[in-house]
């Protein structure tokens, strides 16, 4: 039985608590928030053994094996250090850390203490992302990726998150170096970081405030971002973040020397773009039919998953947490490599530095 604690009892904590309780082989031994009332409400609703408003007390009394830190990223370094020094493995809600330097400190400390860390990049563990990884491993691309495109759309009308941010000038997201971008883009950037080496990294950024946000007086928030990334191996990528593109898109395209893949997070599909040798008009007639057949297959697959109770919005998070807990109890590899965590932080730092400079 893995003993789990949650630090930070705000909006993100509910999803973590519900998931941990569903896993079966683990138990939430305590929840903690510096606002005692918030800790109490989570404790009451999820019938958790104890609640705390002091982290030291939580670690000392509940003695968790794993701590989920769901508080804002400004607190990740201090809380992460404390948990690692007390012998806990740590699951961070995204973004992993405030910047690259903090990410490095946390990873170094984890390695020194023989503890493990990961971050809640759930979409990396959706069925579609796993299928993509399997295809790439099997050599479908015909080599390492040449170019990638990651598009991450965000709905400013989402009442759970964006409205609170826009309505409040002192909201913690506004205090982050990259503000809204800082809290969101690690999902899309991590998809690119997974396939880059990180040597001689070049990042070119263009970011701006959409007219919609300007009209609401939120001129300090950048909500449109276009990024070009290149590493020492000349693997390149485009990253796009947009609040204005409708319908909202969350896609990852990876292009190889032979074939390519389109992964759609919104529709849970992976489409194979394979080289064809059809002559003349057949090239315009056959491939569209084959794409249609692929979409039809995916639709059937998703229906099957729904029937088998495997189409949860939270299924990516579940696989990630299970894989992380497995790496702790069985010594299997971490679900997200430290190289990927660090590279994601480096790219994000570079993006925010360039936006700030403008």
């Amino acid at each position: 039985m893995i003993k789990v604690a949650i630090i930070g009892c705000g909006k993100q904590a509910d999803a973590h608590a519900a998931l941990i309780q569903r896993l079966g082989h683990c138990e939430i031994v305590g929840v903690c928030d510096k606002e005692e009332l918030m800790a109490r409400q989570l404790h009451e609703r999820f019938r958790v053994k104890n609640y705390y408003s002091n982290v030291h007390e939580l670690l000392e009394r509940a003695r968790p094996d794993v701590v989920h830190i769901t508080s804002p990223p400004q607190s990740h370094l201090a809380l992460g250090k404390l948990c690692l020094e007390n012998g806990c493995h740590v699951f961070f809600e995204k973004p992993f850390a405030l910047n690259f330097a903090e990410a490095e400190i946390l990873i170094e400390l984890a390695q020194q203490n023989d503890r493990k860390l990961t971050v809640g990049h759930n979409n990396q563990f959706n069925k579609s992302a796993i299928q993509m990884r399997d295809l790439i491993r099997s050599g479908f691309l015909g080599g390492t990726p040449i170019h990638m495109e990651s598009i991450w759309g965000y709905d400013l009308g989402d009442p759970r998150f964006a409205r609170a941010l826009l309505g409040e000038k002192t909201h913690w997201v506004r205090q982050l170096p990259g503000k809204l971008l800082h809290n969101i883009i690690s999902h899309g950037v991590a998809k690119i970081a997974e396939f880059m080496t990180g040597t001689s990294l070049k990042v070119m950024v263009h970011g701006f405030t959409s007219n919609l946000l300007k009209s609401t007086g939120n001129t300090d928030i950048v909500d449109e971002l276009r990024v070009i990334i290149r590493d020492g191996d000349y693997t390149t990528a485009y990253f796009t973040f947009s609040t204005q593109i409708k319908p909202m898109i969350r896609q990852f395209r990876v292009y190889g020397p032979k074939n390519s893949l389109i992964v759609d997070d919104m529709h849970e599909t992976v489409i194979r773009v394979a080289r064809t040798n059809y002559k003349s008009y057949l090239n315009q007639l056959v491939p569209p039919c084959l794409y249609g057949a692929q979409y039809f297959d995916k639709a059937l697959e998703n229906v099957g998953k729904f029937i088998k109770r495997d189409l949860h919005f939270e299924s990516g998070r579940r696989r990630l947490v299970e894989s992380f807990y497995g790496s702790i109890s069985d010594g299997t590899p971490l679900p997200i490599t430290y190289k990927e965590l660090l590279l994601t932080s480096r790219i994000m730092d570079s993006i925010f530095d360039q936006i700030k400079a403008v």
């Binding site: 509910d14 606002e35 409400q41």
Partner: protein, 353 residues
């Protein structure tokens, strides 16, 4: 007329959430009664146009507009300084349980702490809601009044707003008893009037799959016209001898859901609706709830038996306690305001479309 009040016309009065639908009307009614030392706490000064229009009509009164967030103790201290009565109209309206709790209970705690230290508090009037009641065990058509059971199965009901409001009430009672805070709780039914955001309340019906399900049918709607509601709130905030009491606010001669829908179609525009019997929808909700549980919430329990009962079971309502102890009477009936209300809804529909 105001008799037996606990405050004078010059005593400072604080209204939180003063630029909201109910809040701005409470400010207007306080000013119309002659209270001339009013402090309005608003979350953001961006959305105070309607409130400023009201204030401008009472030039001789001292009305302070204070911008602040009740999650900040400093803002609470500033707002509470020296006040005699607090009208607390703040509630978390978010979809998440923690969000509703934080914006309802943590804000309430901060406000009460500041009030205890920085005010000469004579009354803390807290605006709760009908959402706190559970009619799950109550018969169809049974009387829902102040003595009814309070909801305790929040997660099953999947209603974050209900959770926030119940916990707010609970906290106020505990805190009030511990520190001897003179509080009164009022629970409006469904306030309506110019300013509502949803043209048709869920108690009438919903449109989840592209067709409007008329679920209220012959149920009585616990409506309270905004002017009546705000008047009741104002009076309960200043009336002598009612500390620690709870009052439901509903009007007299309440319309049925059927009548409301008929009038809506007549005045605002016709659309197709399907009358769905309560028992049928209850079974649907029950099945949905079971599937949600079985599938580990692959479908969230948005439809469930408790919510179904709360919205569409159909009950009778009473305002007798409010009339007897506070001396309130609704000044306007549904029939009086029908034309102007539907005219507003027509404009609202135009804006939405």
């Amino acid at each position: 007329m105001l008799n037996d009040t606990i405050v004078g016309m010059n005593d400072p009065i604080l209204i939180t959430g003063a630029n909201g639908f109910i809040g701005s009307k409470v400010v207007e009614i306080l000013l119309s009664y002659g209270f001339n030392n009013v402090r309005c706490l608003v979350r953001s000064s961006n959305n105070v146009g309607a409130l400023n229009v009201i204030i401008s009509r009472y030039a001789s009164a001292k009305v302070d507009l204070v911008e602040g967030n009740l999650l900040s103790r400093d803002d609470c201290d500033r707002a509470c300084k020296g006040v005699a009565v607090i009208y607390n109209l703040v509630a978390g309206m978010e979809k998440s349980f923690p969000g509703c709790f934080m914006n309802s209970v943590v804000t309430l705690r901060n406000l009460l702490e500041s009030a205890r230290q920085h005010s000469n508090l004579k009354r803390f009037l807290h605006v709760s809601s009908f959402a706190v009641y559970s009619n799950f065990e109550l018969k169809r058509g049974g009387l829902l009044d102040e003595t009814c059971e309070i909801e305790t199965h929040f997660m099953e009901r999947s209603d974050a707003y209900c959770y926030g409001k119940v916990k707010q009430d609970e906290f106020l009672r505990e805190y009030g008893d511990k520190y001897n805070v003179p509080y009164v709780i009022v629970r409006p039914g469904v306030p309506y009037g110019a300013g509502v955001k949803a043209p048709i309340h869920a108690r009438v019906g919903i449109d989840p799959f592209g067709i409007f399900f008329h679920l209220g049918r012959s149920n009585i709607l616990p409506f309270t016209y905004i002017d009546n509601c705000a008047d009741a709130i104002v009076m309960a905030g200043i009336k002598k001898g009612i500390d620690r009491e709870v009052f439901n606010i509903v009007d007299d001669n309440l319309p049925t859901s059927k009548k409301f829908l008929r009038l809506y179609k007549k005045h605002v525009g016709h659309f197709r609706s399907l009358a769905v019997p309560y028992w049928f929808f209850y079974i649907f909700c029950s099945l949905w709830e079971k599937y949600s549980h079985w599938s580990g919430e692959q479908l969230p329990p948005a439809f469930n038996r408790r919510k179904c009962a709360a919205l569409w079971k159909g009950n009778r309502y009473s305002n007798n306690k409010l009339k007897d102890l506070v001396g309130w009477k609704p000044k306007l009936s549904f029939d009086d305001v029908e034309d102007r209300y539907f005219e507003y809804l027509m404009k609202l529909k135009g804006k939405v479309n």
